[in-house]
Symmetry: C3
Subunit: 397 residues, 3 copies
Amino acid sequence: MSKTLELARHLETLHINDMYKTDFYWTWDKTDDEIDAIFTVADALRDLRERNKSTRIFDSGLGISLFRDNSTRTRFSFASACNLLGLEEQVLDEKKSQIAHGETVRETANMVSFMADVIGIRDDMYIGEGHKYQKTFMDALEEGYRDGILEQRPTLVNLQCDVDHPTQCMADMLHVIHYFGGVENLKGKKVAMTWAYSPSYGKPLSVPQGVIGLFTRFGMDVTLAHPEGYDVMPEVEAIARQNCEKYGSRFHKTNDMKEAFRDADIVYPKSWAPFAAMEERTKLYAKGDQAGIDALEKKLLAQNAEHKDWACTEEMMKLTRDGKALYMHCLPADITGLSCEEGEVDNSVFDRYIVPLYKQASYKPYIIAAMIFMSQVKDPVRTLMAMDEGDGKRKSF
Amino acid sequence: MSKTLELARHLETLHINDMYKTDFYWTWDKTDDEIDAIFTVADALRDLRERNKSTRIFDSGLGISLFRDNSTRTRFSFASACNLLGLEEQVLDEKKSQIAHGETVRETANMVSFMADVIGIRDDMYIGEGHKYQKTFMDALEEGYRDGILEQRPTLVNLQCDVDHPTQCMADMLHVIHYFGGVENLKGKKVAMTWAYSPSYGKPLSVPQGVIGLFTRFGMDVTLAHPEGYDVMPEVEAIARQNCEKYGSRFHKTNDMKEAFRDADIVYPKSWAPFAAMEERTKLYAKGDQAGIDALEKKLLAQNAEHKDWACTEEMMKLTRDGKALYMHCLPADITGLSCEEGEVDNSVFDRYIVPLYKQASYKPYIIAAMIFMSQVKDPVRTLMAMDEGDGKRKSF
Amino acid sequence: MSKTLELARHLETLHINDMYKTDFYWTWDKTDDEIDAIFTVADALRDLRERNKSTRIFDSGLGISLFRDNSTRTRFSFASACNLLGLEEQVLDEKKSQIAHGETVRETANMVSFMADVIGIRDDMYIGEGHKYQKTFMDALEEGYRDGILEQRPTLVNLQCDVDHPTQCMADMLHVIHYFGGVENLKGKKVAMTWAYSPSYGKPLSVPQGVIGLFTRFGMDVTLAHPEGYDVMPEVEAIARQNCEKYGSRFHKTNDMKEAFRDADIVYPKSWAPFAAMEERTKLYAKGDQAGIDALEKKLLAQNAEHKDWACTEEMMKLTRDGKALYMHCLPADITGLSCEEGEVDNSVFDRYIVPLYKQASYKPYIIAAMIFMSQVKDPVRTLMAMDEGDGKRKSF
């Protein structure tokens, strides 16, 4: 029996009927079965591709990507996922487009979606705005479909908002599952999601938030560590805490990086900006107060600089379980002595983990493809089976 | 009988042999049967897509788009149309390309077209230049094909020039046809194509020109209203007048917006720049006279500001037939109190017509696809029938 | 027997097994049979396309292009070649991406390649850096594939480096082969690869280097002419000299343009920068010494200006064999009186050769497609035969 067939049979046991034609905003919107389904389909699509099976489900159609922040890896992951399923990526670039000319989101959303099956949006910079933008965009499409303007109702893949980064954290989790040999081995594993110093300022909070919101669903012992004042959104902490009750996980906060690293099985040290400062920045941007923005940046950089000791050094790594915790990062990292003078991680640590880090990243296109697949395919079990048995090849010769 | 089959049979009655391998510059170059054919094929492609039928005619091939002015909706419409038929869009971006390095149009045209089947050009800013540029580009390709440089002769879709905006006005007209329940119901309907105030300056004339050139072919009563000095190109007015004789339409000019709106069935209020000023601007640009351009801009903005009362307000709408004329706009509109302080249309009017406005826009990708289809497919009737009956699906699962 | 079948049978006689899964850096890395194979497949793909045969070998997959210098024609050639074979082009644009944020080449290479089959890189500006960058990029992918990060090992098409410009020079050569009616007619033909004055500064050396490295493999008499101080890389001159021994060609250097043009069958006059100056510039860029760069530019422009007599004028053309040498250029050329006051070539000369010049360019997409084909298809002979006989059409209707 092929791996895909095995995965399809597992998929058959899950309650996933509600995913068809829905959007993927946050992992905590989704049931356990739905999360499982994404992992299962991601693995199946990867298996099919490895075996040179065609996974095209679209003969034509567009996947629209909208990046309100720079991106290489997420953009290529989205483009790859679209291409794998037969969609052509079209980038909605604010510089090329007329959005800057004062178009409303509602109008733009409809105007680009006449032949769009999938929308991917990254909007992570403004606390309180990123998710709202995605919601406004998709509500407009829902309305457009209902009113007969659109022939199809495109579905959303959240490519990062201010609250969650589901494609990243799902890829992270699938990497963890395979690294530890299965979901069943994760119970009790200690995860250190910790802040780390970076010379840059204002990195989004969606990765730490996404990690504590997702990893606490797997019976893990999640420690969130950061200097005082670098708190994440309280709503997401609340979700992590709720997960603990439901899944027998632990969620613990500390201002001591060492405490987090001690005996950790997984460490995920990365920089982010303080939530309160990001809220303030959003308001300053809304007011167009450039002087205020500059002053805030200066203040935040100075504040960051007080915490240069928050770094994933060789010494810190020795504190972890057998000194061999799995080091994770969403990339690109600020690497001490390589990409900056002082950063998130020692060059020697980073270098030792390059292969697992790149493997971690390699799941993202498949996670995105699985999200598209589950929201676009009515009978995913039958479809996987048909692809598995079919003659369609990715490379014909 | 399917709708597509019905449309294919209607197509069979039309004289359309001359469309194969030709360019689409202006609607008035085309016979009535050819215009009819575009509408018919647009409706058929939409029906096929709604029924999940594959409409791919290309296995490979490029659709080149060249925008010499910013664009979201037209760019996405062109990309969507290409994708629907199996072509991959490639954007010829002057910033990325070497055009700025002094390449001649002739050379560029050939260099990007070795595997291009379709060319879409938008060049609307310079009176007397936009059409000329498109013509030069396509003449170069004709020559390149004749000389054996190109294996195929790409065909043009004019995505807006200084004279006409055929993809817009054809989409507008198809919307009108469906809104009023068929071509046969348009006779005598009053259309108010009127200027409206906008805080911006220098909007192209191709929409009002395209509308008066096309709508006068359907027995309609077309009123062109604008303040003194905002005349459109006399050549296009001449075409509108000739149409009146041929089609029993009426074409009437006024400097009174109210007169235009009174008892109108359709109102199309939008800003444009005075023809004479645009000619002057073209010359200033050619000379590189930035001081002159700035002075002209200032003068035109002041001139515009004298006509702030030219707005599609609720009061104005009451003048129309039963107060319920169909409000049209090519989008994006300058909406009073939403996108600007004082603009083309009241927010409440605009908002009431959002669904028809978006539907109007939704025809554009199909109109473009139909233009490509008619210029690329040798036997369009048989092809539509084959797609209608075939097993090819847009979404396979 | 179709032309493609004939070409496939010729391909069968060549030793080409080593091309599968390899990169194309420099023509002199490749055996004579391998070079022959590229020409043969390019001609076959063109024949298949002319006969409306589908040449898709990919159902999905990306061709990544990375241009570290502006480009229109090479970018479109690469996009066309990818599209012809079924790959979607994705541009890795440093402005859009996070490369500027300090990512290492190794990381970027892997991050964009999870679903990439082909990589095209243009990096021609920095002597000693362009090839190194491509090598680093591809070594990273080799490693990524070996480590199980990538499911497939993408192959490189060098779209121009500091050393060679193989897609250009192979297209040039295929043009020459067809122009003179076959490889067998090239023996003893005199080629003048000469420097020419251009008002711009710092053009890459990869074209003259590529030409002397490739054309000397065909028994031709290659003269490299330039003013004193405009030498090309000595390593490439050494290759040209080695070719002479092996292929019975001649390679001759002169500082006299007339000597080069005298009785030439082919003239290829174009500007390039002095090798030593380019080395200096690379160092200045590495140091970020803008003042030094500006001073160097000034010096080089002044130095260039001393050689305005190095131009392909009508008088110069009269020196060539019967005054009718084949004029070649990689385009765009600096044309005296058209694109600049004084440049590489007289307008009347350039204009007389426009058709052959455009034909020369038209081979590039097919050369690139052939390079991709030979590195991606395991059994190219059988594949060409299958395409030749198959029902697959490029345009279905």
